[in-house]
């Protein structure tokens, strides 16, 4: 029974990977934003996906709250949801666009690319 249970658990874990950075290619043309964004037309934004389960790895830089929440979830999944896998470090990108006055503008937009994911 113990073997089955452990196997079952492992199988459950395998169905969804641990919290990590995944690809997310953004194409401004597909968003319909290419009428005002001159460049870039697309970029790699990434996204965070995966489970935040016990024990949380240090590279996920969990907050103390996330550690407590994860621990409570591991003890009683019905009472508390797992902590969230979210971006913990983001970087900017440069965008060249046309503003409402028809002027060409260069702007560095913060928080556009996921650099790191973690549990919060």
């Amino acid at each position: 029974t113990a073997l089955n249970s452990r196997h079952g658990k492992r199988h459950g874990k395998k169905s969804r990977s641990r919290c990590s950075k995944k690809a997310l290619h953004v194409n401004f043309k597909d968003l319909g934003w290419d009428d005002w964004i001159i460049a870039p037309l697309d970029y790699e934004a990434y996204h965070c996906e995966g489970v935040c389960d016990f024990p949380l790895r240090s590279h996920l830089e969990p907050t103390n709250h996330a550690i407590i929440q994860t621990l409570m979830n591991s003890m009683d999944p019905g009472s508390t949801p797992p902590s969230c896998c979210v971006p913990t470090k983001l970087s900017p990108i440069s965008i060249l666009y046309i503003d409402s006055g028809n002027n060409v503008v260069y702007k560095q937009y913060e928080d556009m690319v996921v650099e790191q994911c973690g549990c919060r």
Partner: protein, 271 residues
């Protein structure tokens, strides 16, 4: 101008036309408005975008700073950026008065109403393209002074010398006009900015014909028009959707009839 020409080619479209977010969630109302607006006006907006040609200087700024970003460098560290994270170019709307010849003074007009009061101004420069004058003679040499003055008070903003021996190649003259913006609330002055150019011979006060130095506006391509480049720093983190909202607001009143003249529409929107 096609932006794709200066960039790496985009990847093939994925989920073309998909308007559903992850996990089947419906996009919020605000996003729906954006998408609806984008779709219904896409054809008109393609024409609109094609009508605006970025100056090489702006493309160069974009290329340089985005390349630096990829190397992990912050663009605001560049001296040329003046610690700004936003650089806006305003194209000259002035016209030469053909009735007045010689051309002693030249007024440069800019509509800076799109500048936000929420942003901190950190620099402004006027970039004027100087052509090789048609009647330029190699024998014509000497040192000239060019000065930029405010239209209203005629206060000197910046000056520089121009050696005609080096003037056989066209190029951009860059003058610092930040003085105009200091203690200035652009929106409260109708968003108009006017500066005037004059040129003198040597250190004399004799004003000379600007046409002889290649500053006349005849037969200029869009990308050769003077630009006012304003460097600003956002006081808080910019929300990308605010730009989109502005675009929708500014184009909301557009109709097909209005598309006859893009310039006319732009003027009307500003009014």
């Amino acid at each position: 101008f096609h932006s794709a020409a200066i960039l790496t080619p985009s990847v093939p479209r994925r989920n073309k036309g998909t308007r559903v977010l992850y996990d089947g969630q419906e996009s919020p109302k605000f996003l729906k408005e954006i998408f609806a607006s984008s779709q219904s006006q896409s054809h008109q907006q393609d024409d609109f975008k094609d009508a605006i040609i970025p100056h090489d200087y702006m493309l160069s700024i974009y290329r340089t700073y985005s390349a630096a970003e990829k190397l992990g460098l912050n663009a605001s560290f560049f001296r040329s950026s003046k610690s700004a994270n936003t650089i806006t170019s305003f194209v000259d709307r002035g016209k030469d008065d053909l009735l007045h010849s010689p051309l002693r003074r030249q007024k440069y007009l800019f509509d800076v109403s799109a500048l936000s009061d929420k942003e901190e101004l950190v620099g402004a420069e006027l970039r004027i393209f100087r052509k090789v004058p048609g009647d330029f003679q190699t024998a014509q040499t000497g040192l000239y002074g060019i000065q930029i003055l405010s239209c209203r008070s005629e206060r000197l903003l910046d000056s520089r010398s121009l050696d005609l021996q080096d003037a056989q190649k066209p190029g951009w003259e860059v003058l610092d006009v930040w003085e105009m913006f200091k203690n200035r609330h652009h929106s409260s002055q109708g968003g108009r900015l006017c500066v005037q150019l004059r040129a003198t011979l040597g250190k004399t006060e004799t004003e000379i014909d600007l046409k002889h130095l290649g500053f006349d506006r005849n037969d200029r391509a869009q990308q050769e028009k003077a630009i006012l480049v304003v460097f600003t720093r956002s006081k808080k983190r910019e929300n990308l959707f605010n730009e989109m909202k502005e675009k929708i607001k500014s184009r909301g009143s557009r109709t097909k009839e209005e598309d006859d003249s893009l310039q006319f529409k732009a003027r009307r929107r500003r009014r």
